[in-house]
């Protein structure tokens, strides 16, 4: 029995060892992705593409995105990445993939025919996987990714609940927002919900106001270590959360709330305002088709600088730098982001298309979201980013303020300590 097992095992090893092949060009390209909600549409489009061109596109879904990321990291190590894939990580990690030769520079393809492909797509979406000249990552400047769709994060308001509290127009300033929240509370309505158990969403909200209060130059100077987090402007950012806490604006349990639960709360009219991304249109529609709501940027607190929202490519694909089928992969992505296919994707998945001409067919609320792209920014298009360990201290510190454990000043000092620690570690 056991001998048999061992013999079988070694036999199979030998047999399998014999059948490895080096990759060679073929009429089949493989694509890895993580977007469960778009898988059916991708499959359908891939079939259509095969009928048109004879090139088979094998779409493989690996979800959830955490598992997908692990797979990509592991496959990069074993050098078995597919022809087309996506890197769901920070810009610095994308840079590492590029430097390892695992991502093709698409600038040439984008600029061909007078930049036809490039011009059809949203600039902010392209910037997500582009590297400027002189970037701090040491990557050859160029465009490295093809955006499939765009997203941005804004504030939603429930028109019915606002009317119930006698509010006619959504707030234009932060003070109005706080005042409206009080009016809502008086009629027993929870003012605000967001999935701040997911730190990035909290970080996004704080970042919007940081742009509004101090402008991008000062933010980047802080990242470089030239401005301290104990600066009055940063304390003002932290104080926003203390103020909203004191005024009872947040829904109970906001700091441990997953975004799915936050979306449920807003869809079921348990809160009047929400802070969420443009994908929410789809989610709200599924849970409550009759929900009457509108979208506004978070109301600014200062007039010093414009408030910026986060907006960029929702998802991008890159082409494997070592793929023998590079040209075919690029051709497929070009087809996938052309107007007709983008219209299909936008319609069937309710996402904002990355192709500007495909906006014709989307719902009015998504169009409102799209307007926000003009005032959008994103960590992936900043020249540099804060160290993740400092970001963690920053986001967790804000949670501490919301649950009333710490004051803005205490948090500012702790974040600065984390910054100092990171800088001392970096200098070793």
């Amino acid at each position: 029995m056991r001998n048999l097992g061992i013999i079988c095992f070694s036999l199979i090893l030998i047999v399998l060892a014999g059948c490895s092949q080096p990759p060679k060009p073929s009429n089949k390209i493989i694509l890895w992705h993580w977007m469960t909600d778009r898988n059916d549409t991708f499959q359908k489009l891939a079939q259509e593409y095969q009928q048109q061109t004879g090139v088979e596109v094998n779409i493989q879904l690996f979800a959830p995105s955490d598992a997908y990321s692990q797979k990509v990291i592991a496959a990069a190590q074993a050098n078995v990445l597919p022809d087309i894939y996506g890197v769901l990580d920070k810009k610095s990690i994308v840079a590492d993939f590029i430097k390892a030769g695992l991502v093709t520079d698409l600038t040439g393809a984008m600029d061909a025919d007078g930049g036809q492909w490039k011009n059809s797509l949203f600039d902010k979406a392209l910037a997500d996987k582009s590297f400027e000249a002189g970037n701090i990552y040491g990557v050859t400047p160029g465009i490295y990714g093809v955006p499939i769709d765009v997203t941005n994060e804004q504030m939603l308001y429930n028109k019915r609940l606002l009317a119930k509290a006698g509010i006619k127009t959504p707030p234009q300033t932060f003070d109005e927002f706080v005042r409206d929240a009080q009016a809502l509370k008086r009629v027993g309505i929870t003012p605000f919900v967001s999935g701040w158990g997911e730190l990035w969403l909290l970080d996004c909200f704080a970042s919007n106001y940081a742009f509004n209060i101090m402008g991008e130059d000062k933010i980047f100077a802080t990242f470089r270590g030239q401005v301290k987090y104990t600066d009055p402007d940063w304390i003002k950012v932290f104080s926003i959360f203390a103020q909203l806490r004191d005024k009872g604006v947040f829904i109970d349990g906001i700091v441990t709330k997953g975004n799915k639960y936050a979306e449920q709360d807003f869809a079921l009219e348990r809160a009047a305002f929400a802070f969420n991304g443009s994908w929410c249109v789809n989610v709200y529609h599924d849970m409550n088709p009759n929900l009457d709501y509108g979208v506004i940027p978070p109301p600014p607190i200062s007039t010093a600088y414009p408030l910026k929202i986060w907006g960029s490519a929702g998802s991008s694909f890159v082409v494997n730098g070592q793929s023998p089928n590079k040209d075919k992969a690029i051709a497929f992505l070009k087809w996938l982001t052309a107007q007709d296919q983008q219209v299909v994707l936008a319609r069937e998945t309710n996402n904002l298309p990355s192709n500007k001409q495909a906006l014709v067919d989307v719902s009015p609320i998504l169009k409102d979201f799209a307007k926000g792209m003009d005032q959008s920014t994103h960590p992936n298009i900043w020249p540099l980013n804060e160290d993740p360990s400092v970001s963690e201290a920053f986001d967790k510190g804000i949670q501490d303020i919301i649950i009333g454990d710490k004051t803005p000043l205490q948090v500012a000092q702790e974040v600065q300590q984390a910054k100092d620690l990171q800088r001392s570690r970096g200098s070793i």
């Binding site: 399998l16 979800a63 592991a74 989610v283």
Partner: protein
Amino acid sequence: MKANRYIFWGMAKSTFIHIFLMSVALTCLFPIFWMVRCAFMTNDTVFVDQSIIPHHLNFGNFALAWTKGNFAVYFVNSVIYTVCVVTGIVLISSLAAYSFSRLKFPGKNIIFYLFVAAMMIPLPGSFVALFVLMTKLHLINTRFGYILCMINVGLSMSILLFKTFFDKMPHELEDAARIDGCGKIGIWWNMAMPFARPAIAVIVIFNSLNVWNEYILATLLLGDSQLMPLQRGLVVFQGANSTDYPVLMAGLTMAAVPIIIVYLFMQKHIVKGLSGEVIG
């Protein structure tokens, strides 16, 4: 009089025990009831309709989950993986545990403690090493590779459990078998394995559940969707952003049925008074 009081206390005691068991049982039944109930609703009523039996029963979710989740393929795959892995684990770990418990060879204790220690040490980042290893062995994207990995996952715990039970086996049993001319393999198969039947049942249940619900390793090691296990079908309903709760619940309900059947089948072996039988 005395007899009456005895009956009274007996009844009071058993009522008390039943109240205790029932209250725990209710907390266990509530979620499964909720899950099945949700499976009959639609996405826009699932969080709104608070009635115990939903007003409008929607039976379509099960069919939808079956087709949309590609369950036909994934179910078969999961059954293959579960049967292979569990059989493998039971055979391999019981052999090893028998040797650790009853036989002698140099280095026995060290190897045993290696197994137990391995169970304790989490291996984050091991997925990179495992992936590279499996690629080198050409076991990536194969059923066989995934099965071997899953056997490895369940091995330590099963060996520990088997050894605990083998240790309790009376020596007379073994001696009697030896006199009857049984070899070591014979004693393992004819004496030790029947003796450890409750342990086998526990190990089968534990590992079946583990393999049935496993998803991360499958995602990492398998690429072809034709090879994927059942959990892959369930993931489809949990989009990155939107979740189709009723269909998901229908899928989860269907996915839970085989495990409950395995449990029902196996728990009989936990129940039987075995030691008495064997000795008698």
